[in-house]
Amino acid sequence: MSNLALDLLLQAIPVAFTLFVVLNFGGILTWVERKQSAIMQDRLGANRASIFGIRVLGLLHPLADAIKMLTKEDFMPARADRLMFKVAPFVSVFFALAAFASIPFGDTLKIAGREIQLQAVTLNVGILYVLAMLSLGVYGLMMAGWASANNYALLGGQRAAALMITAEVAIGASIMGVVMVYGSLNMQDIARAQGLPLLPQYFGPWIPAWGILTQPLAFVLFLTAGIAATKRIPFDMPEGESEIIGYFVEYSGMKFGMFAMADFLETVVIAGMTTALFLGGWQVPYLGSSGFSFPWGMEVPLPDLLVTGIQVIAFLTKVVALIWFLMLIRWTLPRFRYDQAMRLGWLGLFPLSILNIVITGLVLLLLGKA
């Protein structure tokens, strides 16, 4: 009985860690967005919110925002579909949160004689799960657009659906190259395979087989389509603040905040997924399960727990760096027009990712791995 309780408790560790990391990242991203854009534009950014005169670089602004959102009027249009209007933001946030579950953030945690996979949900079809959750998230936007009884909101919801289909097709097709190279749909297996040396017959043990090296074209395609999936500038047609306000035009207070939160959560998910598939996941170069073993023959043995800690920190560092990069893109590029985004998706990303699959297949055949 106590064994079962212990098992449950240990299994709760990765789940709790995932929830903690994703939720906090989502909250802090509002601050990161304001501060990073300010620094890029020679401004100071949010720095006025304070508790007893302590400002901590404006880090209290997410807190102040949350209080503001919770105390604002919760408005609902008279002709809105009451149930769908209320459910929509929850759907949006829930699927964005759930999507992170099968992204591994470490190898295995050896504790109390057990081996725990550092992944909230161990799934053989992890990639498909993340894709499914990401695309289910768009139901929230469509529901919001429909339930608001507002033509602009409906247009926004429709655009969200069109954009999501465009992005999902490109994401799915570009990931196929990765799946072909590493031979698995399990994200933990893919992360492990990225620690092996790349083409040892040519390069020796020097270069780890990270996805960005084996699938450079897929990396660019996936990142582009991933940014489109987050519905942020340059792909912000569903919101389109300068033309239609978008699917959340009738929302106020914390419901609106949840839609904004879902965007940030999706940014975290895309960053986590890109890390897991293309940047080696939790891999640190030359760090094995028992310590560093450098190709020039030096060995640094490390205890298991320390190795696991380094891996988790490495994963989080990569995610943070990638989020920084996504923010940089968001504050640099002008937004695409609706037709431009559709053209980019269907005439650019999709054919290129099919081409990538063909090239990957040919190369695998030539290397004798297929």
Binding site: I39, M40, D42, I329, T332
Partner: protein
């Protein structure tokens, strides 16, 4: 030869899509060059912020922001700010109530009532000298017109406000109490409290 009436983004415009090269139309390279620009700017500013905050190099500025209520930009000595009445050595106004400023004022915001000065050498003195700052346009004509150099606009005070129109009328006593601004236009006297503002008055002696 391009017509002067030609609007931008026509085929003759170098920014028109038909004039873009292949690399520009491919867009990805252009994206990278844009990201390089903003990314480098980010790190340059980040380095300046770190120097300023962590290493206390006060000359390093990562932003051009002046946090206004906390800090003011240096103002020119010629700045026209809140008026003040210049005092004689005995504390009475230097003004001789000649009505020059009231006459020249384009906004008709100065109101003067003259009276006799106890000193027979001095012709007159204002009994009342009110400026309606709600009407004042800060042209500075009153300062130029004054033959006695009795009114100046050098207090550096800009943040005067009131809840009512009556509160914007500043009286002789208020204007006489003001001092000229220090270097960079920093005010040396406190912002006068308007007549309609109920503020806790701290009395030195119980009344």
């Amino acid at each position: 030869m391009p017509s002067p009436y030609q609007s931008s983004n026509t085929p003759a415009d170098p920014r028109h899509s038909s004039r873009l090269g292949l690399a520009q139309r491919f867009y990805l390279l252009e994206v990278l060059s844009g990201l390089k620009l903003t990314g480098l700017r980010f790190f340059a500013n980040m380095a300046r912020h770190t120097l300023h905050t962590v290493f206390r190099v006060k000359s390093a500025h990562g932003a051009v922001t002046i946090q206004y209520p906390d800090e003011r930009r240096p103002y020119s000595p010629r700045l026209r700010s809140l008026h003040r009445l210049v005092r004689r050595d005995d504390g009475s106004p230097r003004c001789v109530a000649c009505m020059m400023c009231e006459t020249v004022c384009p906004a008709h915001c100065i109101y003067i009532v003259a009276t006799e000065h106890p000193n027979p050498e001095i012709e007159k003195v204002p009994e009342r000298f009110d400026i309606d700052l709600g009407k004042c346009v800060f042209c500075g004509y009153c300062v130029e017109a004054c033959p006695e150099d009795a009114i100046r606009m050098d207090t550096g005070i800009l943040e005067f406000s009131s809840f009512s129109r009556g509160g914007m009328i500043y009286t002789k006593e208020t204007l006489l109490a003001l001092e000229p601004a220090g270097p960079h236009g920093v005010p040396t006297s406190p912002v006068p409290i308007p007549a309609d503002r109920t503020m806790p008055v701290i009395r030195s002696t119980p009344s």
